[in-house]
């Protein structure tokens, strides 16, 4: 009897989450079918290969991994900006017609979008990071700490999640895709380059890179915790505020 009650409860919960899963799956499928994804991953793998092989005579694991991870902050962030800042605004035309007029709540839609774009960014990031670490461990002089290496990758993953949530958040709030992309570009490069100049270095992805090599070697400081907390807070704030805005706005 209890089993049956539990199973019907599970079924109801599964049914309630069906629109969220459907939106997330459809979005992920379309992202992974996109030529931009193929191009991005191909270019990222090639860059990892070239830079790791190029530095193998005089490089170390920590410098190779750190250099590979910095590509995400300075180069691949452009792809993430383009793909996340267009996530909702580019669908404006078909949104009401083909999705929101069905049995979908605002939160199903916007959280489905956040989840799919975060999953996409992380899958691509961890894919490239795995190749990077694999090559660096084989080819470079070993100077890493396993926990430190793992922590460094997770911190950059968190940075990418922050960028993704900012992108989707702006895409919800801005009236056009171009405006969302430009705003995010300005914000991202301001955070990366100018935040350290005005004393906000703890919230600067660019500043974080100067510590990544130390983190890989196993040095973790309180300042790193502050950065992690800051990035997590920005991610949560972006998601919460833009979801609340989407809940209120007319479609």
């Amino acid at each position: 009897m209890n089993n049956r009650v539990g199973s019907s409860e599970q079924h109801r919960r599964g049914e309630a989450l069906a629109p969220f899963w459907a939106i997330m799956q459809a979005d992920l499928r379309s992202l992974f079918r996109s030529k931009i994804t193929y191009g991005w991953l191909l270019a990222a793998f090639l860059l990892v290969l070239v830079t790791t092989l190029g530095s193998r005579l005089h490089g170390t694991t920590s410098s190779a991994v750190s250099s590979g991870l910095s590509d995400f902050i300075y180069i691949w962030s452009l792809v993430i900006i383009g793909l996340t800042a267009s996530s909702v605004s580019s669908e404006a035309g078909e949104l009401a017609d083909s999705i929101m007029s069905k049995s979908v709540t605002r939160l199903d839609y916007v959280l489905g979008k956040f989840a799919s774009r975060i999953a996409y960014t992380l899958i691509c990031f961890f894919g490239v990071a795995a190749v990077l670490v694999g090559l660096a461990l084989r080819l470079e002089t070993s100077d890493y700490n396993s926990l430190g290496l793992f922590s460094a990758i997770l911190v950059i993953a968190l940075t990418m999640v922050m960028l993704t949530t900012m992108g989707v958040g702006l895409s919800v709030a801005m009236p056009s895709t171009v405006m969302a992309i430009v705003t995010l570009l300005v914000l991202w490069y301001a955070m990366t380059i100018f935040f350290p100049v005005i004393g906000l270095d703890l919230l600067s992805p660019g500043n974080l890179l100067s510590y990544v090599q130390d983190i890989i070697k196993g040095e973790w400081t309180w300042g790193n915790w502050e950065t992690v907390i800051g990035f997590a807070a920005i991610s949560i704030a972006s998601t919460t505020l833009s979801s609340a805005y989407f809940y209120m706005k007319d479609i």
């Binding site: 078909e94 017609d97 083909s98 929101m100 007029s101």
Partner: protein, 322 residues
């Protein structure tokens, strides 16, 4: 009075504190009705539909669907509704099968039910041959048919069609109207249009909106009766001038106007029954050996009834302004 499926109460929507798109609109749609929502372009029809679906929030007033207040969170109400927008847009990279499966998931249908319904619908809207093609290359007619299939995916009790015949060729338009009439035997239907003959052909009830204001709601018969203008409209082959001279001598003819070389509109005295007037007019035509091309009473024409309502509303607006 039957069960009310849709009911609006003082429904108002103002965009940006500037544009009053819907202004204090009241109407009700009863179960089993095919309700035509008429209005010129820009009158507020689509805004009203978006309010009915909970896509936008009213500035004032409210919408009740199935007896419950509609809000953006009312996914439980939308689960019982189907919606076909004007020129529907879909995810371009999906195929019809993928899109209908996606819609089925949005409606929380199980896998078996989704497969069964989407196969039946794809066949019935005639998209079987294109079911594996990407939607991006579809024509307007194909998109409308896909939209129709998506609107029916959840087997809804209430269907909302926004200008369903817009952009369709005559045969597509005819088959869409026939399909709506067929669906109307089982479901409640709300259909907006500015094409009056479409509404006249399929609807049982009608609401008229002009510049955001509801100016009529009731049955089509009531609408025609309330605006009848007692005019008999003729098209004749022969000496129309001589015929008009004769009309001057008829006591129940209040006046007449000619339209082009062969059209005459005769205004009938209110004391004369319309049926008798039509009979007398045809007798007069026969006696003059004229060939009758067509005859109609403007009371039977929804276009005239609609135009009368708009004119009446405009003159009321003018009087209010002065």
């Amino acid at each position: 009075m039957g069960q009310r499926i849709i009911e609006t109460e003082n429904l108002t929507k103002i965009f940006g504190e500037k544009l009053i798109a819907v202004n204090n609109v009241n109407f009700a749609v009863e179960k089993g009705a095919i309700f035509g929502f008429l209005g010129p372009n820009g009158a507020g029809k689509t805004t009203t539909i978006r309010l009915l679906l909970g896509l936008i929030r009213p500035t004032a007033g409210e919408v009740r669907v199935f007896g419950e207040k509609m809000t953006p969170s009312s996914s439980n109400l939308r689960r019982r509704m189907g919606y076909l927008p004007t020129n529907p847009r879909f995810p371009p990279r999906m195929t019809p099968i993928q899109y209908l499966d996606f819609v089925g998931k949005l409606f929380r249908l199980g896998r078996a039910e989704r497969v069964e319904r989407l196969s039946a619908l794809i066949r019935s809207v005639g998209l079987l041959g294109d079911s594996s093609r990407e939607i991006a290359g579809f024509s307007t007619g194909m998109l409308t048919r896909l939209g129709l299939a998506a609107a029916l995916m959840n087997d809804p009790e209430l269907l909302i069609f926004d200008e369903p015949t817009s952009g369709l060729d005559p045969s597509g338009r005819k088959s869409t109207l026939e399909l709506i009439a067929e669906l109307g035997k089982e479901k409640t239907i709300f259909v907006s249009s500015h094409i009056l003959t479409d509404i006249d052909r399929i609807c049982t009830d009608v609401g008229v909106i002009s510049e955001g204001k509801g100016i009529f709601a009731g049955s089509i018969k009531e609408m025609k009766k309330s605006t009848r203008s007692r005019v008999v409209r003729l098209e004749l082959d022969g000496d129309v001038q001589k015929f008009c001279e004769l009309l001057k001598a008829v006591k129940w003819v209040v006046g007449y106007t000619t339209r082009g070389d062969f059209g005459v509109d005769i205004t009938i005295d209110p004391s004369m029954p319309m049926a008798d007037a039509v009979r007398e007019v045809t007798n007069l035509v026969t006696s003059q050996k004229l060939d009758l091309i067509s005859i109609s009473s403007s009371t039977s024409n929804i276009e005239d009834a609609f135009m009368d309502l708009l004119r009446h509303e405009q003159s009321r607006g003018f009087l209010r302004a002065t």
